[in-house]
């Protein structure tokens, strides 16, 4: 039982933090949002830092790191509300690394690690909401070659990605496929999302596909769990910065001749925000440290973590806006963008009520971190 970061982890954090501070200021971010919410150049910079290969083993050109390093990185990206979807890369590399055949790994992992290929999970279908067992896309095999048909929404950077991890039903069972953006029958669209990042539709009409994993349900759950752990860490970074902005503002803003930080009712609100932040950070640790646990244990942990994070993100986001007053709802103030990010993260990979249901249905007689 040890929650200290290693020197290497601290160095990794410092490197990402430095990049965010120097390379990802509010103005650059705004420009990216105005240009559609995704900048390949930024993604390349992340890859140059090695982050795209964080989960890729060294044999395939990656760093071969684990969930704690991913957490450290995602916290910093969250602190900088970075738009480019590194969480997707963690998912894709994690899932291909864990479930892909050797040739699939050899074909994709090096390109993912280098940043040459952006591969994203195409998960969302209308009618599925947050449930992973509702897949309408279908796959069929002819002459040893797979094709996939279906429609996915809210695909991260859909029209800028190079390939997609696609759950589709094959032989009555969900399986996981890899579909290239350039494949025949693939069309994508793009739009902004509420937090300023980019997403879009992916439409596949008998698109050629590579099978990644026939037991798609297991792989898909794993994929989403990587996403949840990343989201939790991203949320912690975003919340920490949100609280810092709020504290700065409260110590600066004067009303009735004194800084508003002197009002006890507001001070107690800040204490509650700090509480939520530390509980959330604790559960983000928990999620990352359980990410390599057996599936049932892993799933239960992610649900617990996402409930805590969801509640914390909503509370801290809302209270931050409230404590800022008018300035907190303006586009020109960076705080409002944190609020939107926190809002969107709550709805990513299952919202709080969804995961409360997961916790409820998985409850055992026992209690606690180790139960």
């Amino acid at each position: 039982m040890d929650f200290d970061f290693s020197d290497d982890q601290v160095a990794l954090r410092d490197a990402v933090q430095k990049w965010v501070e120097k390379g990802y200021g509010f103005e650059r971010r705004r420009t990216i949002v105005e240009a559609g919410g995704f900048d390949r150049a930024v993604y390349t910079e992340l890859a140059e830092l090695g982050l795209a290969g964080l989960y890729v083993d060294e044999a395939h050109g990656g760093l071969g790191m684990g969930p704690v390093e991913a957490m450290v990185v995602m916290e910093e990206l969250g602190r900088g509300i970075v738009l480019e979807p590194l969480a997707q890369t963690l998912i894709a590399s994690g899932v291909i690394g864990a479930y892909g055949a050797d040739d699939v790994k050899a074909a994709w992992l090096p390109r993912i690690a280098s940043g040459e290929a952006l591969v994203v999970l195409a998960l969302q279908e209308r009618g599925a909401r947050y449930r992973l067992d509702r897949v309408a896309a279908t796959a069929s095999q002819a002459g040893g070659a797979w094709t996939v048909s279906g429609e996915k929404h809210l695909v991260a950077a859909a029209d800028r990605a190079d390939a997609f991890l696609v759950p589709a039903v094959a032989n009555g069972q969900p399986a996981l496929f890899l579909v290239e953006a350039s494949a025949k029958g693939v069309t994508t669209t793009g739009h902004l999302t509420q937090d300023g990042s980019r997403a879009g539709n992916l439409s596949m009409d008998k698109a050629p596909a590579v099978l990644v994993c026939a037991d798609g349900q297991a792989a898909l759950e794993h994929a989403v769990d990587i996403g949840i752990a990343a989201t939790c860490a991203e949320g912690v970074g975003a919340m920490e910065q949100t609280l810092a902005l709020t504290v700065d503002y409260m110590n600066t803003r004067k009303q009735f001749g004194v800084a508003i930080a002197t009002f006890q009712a507001l001070r107690h609100r800040v204490a509650d925000m700090k509480m939520q932040l530390e509980l959330a950070r604790s559960m983000s640790y928990y999620a990352s440290l359980k990410l390599n646990a057996p599936a049932a244990e892993r799933r239960a942990a992610m649900a617990r973590a996402k409930v805590q994070l969801g509640n914390a993100m909503r509370f801290i986001g809302q209270q931050s806006v409230q404590l800022h007053g008018g300035i907190g709802v303006t586009d020109e103030y960076i705080g409002s963008h944190y609020f939107k990010k926190l809002t969107q993260l709550e709805m990513s990979f299952g919202d709080t009520l969804h995961h409360l249901g997961e916790v409820s249905s998985r409850m055992q007689d026992t209690a606690g971190v180790f139960a």
Binding site: R126, H153, G326
Partner: protein, 393 residues
């Protein structure tokens, strides 16, 4: 004690309902029912329709050309408008400045300003908040110096709602720095087309420009535009605020939006999810309780008995409920509330919204926008201070 409206009240309601349904343009109510973007023209079109009927100043006494309704009638009018999907009446003219002009303005001012407000021709804006003066309004700094028969105004207002459309503006300005901050404030009407006035829209977190900064650079304002006496503006402003306004609870809109939430929940498949539905059920209880609270206030106003000093409660609860229904609508659509497609909030947009339900397009934006409700009009923290004062002394 009786929960039911009297037959007279019911007849009044029926009359209002019939008229509103007959006169409210369908394309406007469609926008309101679906939280689509309203233009200046939409708002003013409805204002002029009401104005022509004599109902834009629906709270005005007969002597000033209003219908002379009592508190219950006003409420029924507001309710019928809200449920029919009418845009909210932009309050700055008919609801806010008009009563001040009536109470403290002179006859010339009555004749000069009230007709344009009553007809909906003249769009008024409010100049209260300043960058340094939010909850602490009395600390405002915008100066108005008397020079002969004019005031020279310099300074800045902010959070001026829909100020980009404004023709005229009522302002609290500092005319003296003597004594307590409250005592040096005057109430000044200002033509926004005057030289030296500039308006800068502020983009809000939902991408819309609902509020503005308004700058005054040596703006000349004829002294005849001063309401009442110099340095007594704070009293007039307080008069305006103390006017018991059940409408700040916005319960009628909450009822309409609760019904919309239920429709959304059905479309999005969460109506049959016990867990989600309980959230709606709790909100339903909240809305009913708020409505009962509003009705109690109305009853007290009508009878003059048992006056209830609970405007602060109405503001707090009303705003919390507005935030909650907008939150639940967004959560109901879940992932499908996440696309931010600005054009999709225009009526008649023919694009392809992800998932196919374009009604989901404005949900997150509305949620974001509603954060303002616990901040503006006296933040909920200020309201709690006021409530506590009445309870604890």
């Amino acid at each position: 004690m009786d929960l039911a409206f009297t037959p007279e009240e019911q007849a009044f309601r029926d009359e209002i309902r019939a008229w509103v349904r007959a006169n409210l343009p369908a394309e406007i109510s469609h926008k309101v029912h679906n939280a689509l973007r309203l233009t200046r023209d939409d708002m003013q079109r409805w204002a002029k329709i009401l104005g022509k009927k004599g109902w834009l100043g629906y709270g005005w006494p007969k002597q000033f050309g209003g219908p002379g309704w009592n508190a219950v009638q006003k409420h029924l009018f507001e309710e019928e408008c809200a449920l029919a999907g009418a845009p909210r009446i932009v309050p700055f003219g008919p609801v806010m400045v008009a009563p001040v002009i009536m109470a403290f303005g002179n006859k010339e001012q009555h004749e000069r300003f009230l007709p344009g407000i009553a007809s909906g021709e003249v769009w008024w804006s409010q100049g209260y908040s300043e960058p340094g003066s939010g909850s602490d309004l009395a600390s405002l700094k915008t100066r108005a110096e008397r020079k002969g028969d004019k005031y020279i105004v310099n300074g800045q207002k902010t959070w001026t709602t829909l100020g980009q459309y404004g023709d005229w503006m009522f302002n609290l300005v500092r005319t003296s720095t003597e004594g307590k901050p409250q005592t040096g404030i005057s109430f000044l009407l200002l033509d926004m087309k005057s030289k030296g006035v500039s308006v800068r829209p502020i983009k809000l977190l939902d991408g819309e420009c609902e509020v503005n900064e308004v700058f005054f650079d040596n703006v000349e304002v004829p002294a005849e535009n001063l309401i009442g006496e110099e340095n007594k503006g704070w009293t007039y402003a307080k008069h305006l605020l103390s006017h018991e306004r059940t409408n700040i609870a916005d319960v009628n809109r909450a009822k309409r939006e609760l019904e919309r939430l239920k429709r959304i929940a059905k479309t999005e498949g969460v109506w049959d999810d016990v867990r989600f539905r309980d959230q709606i059920a709790l909100l339903e209880v909240d809305v009913v309780a708020l409505e009962m609270l509003v009705l109690r206030v109305l009853s007290a106003e009508k009878s003059g008995k048992n006056s209830l000093d609970i405007a602060g409660l109405l503001k707090i609860r009303g705003s919390e409920i507005q935030q909650r229904y907008s939150e639940l609508m967004m959560l109901a659509a879940g992932p499908y509330s996440l696309p931010f497609i600005e054009e999709a909030m225009e009526a008649g947009w023919q694009g392809d919204f992800p998932g196919g339900v374009t009604a989901n397009a404005p949900l997150a934006s509305t949620y974001f926008n509603m954060r303002k409700t616990t901040i503006y009009g006296g933040s909920n923290e200020v309201q709690r201070n006021i409530v506590a004062q009445t309870v604890l002394g």
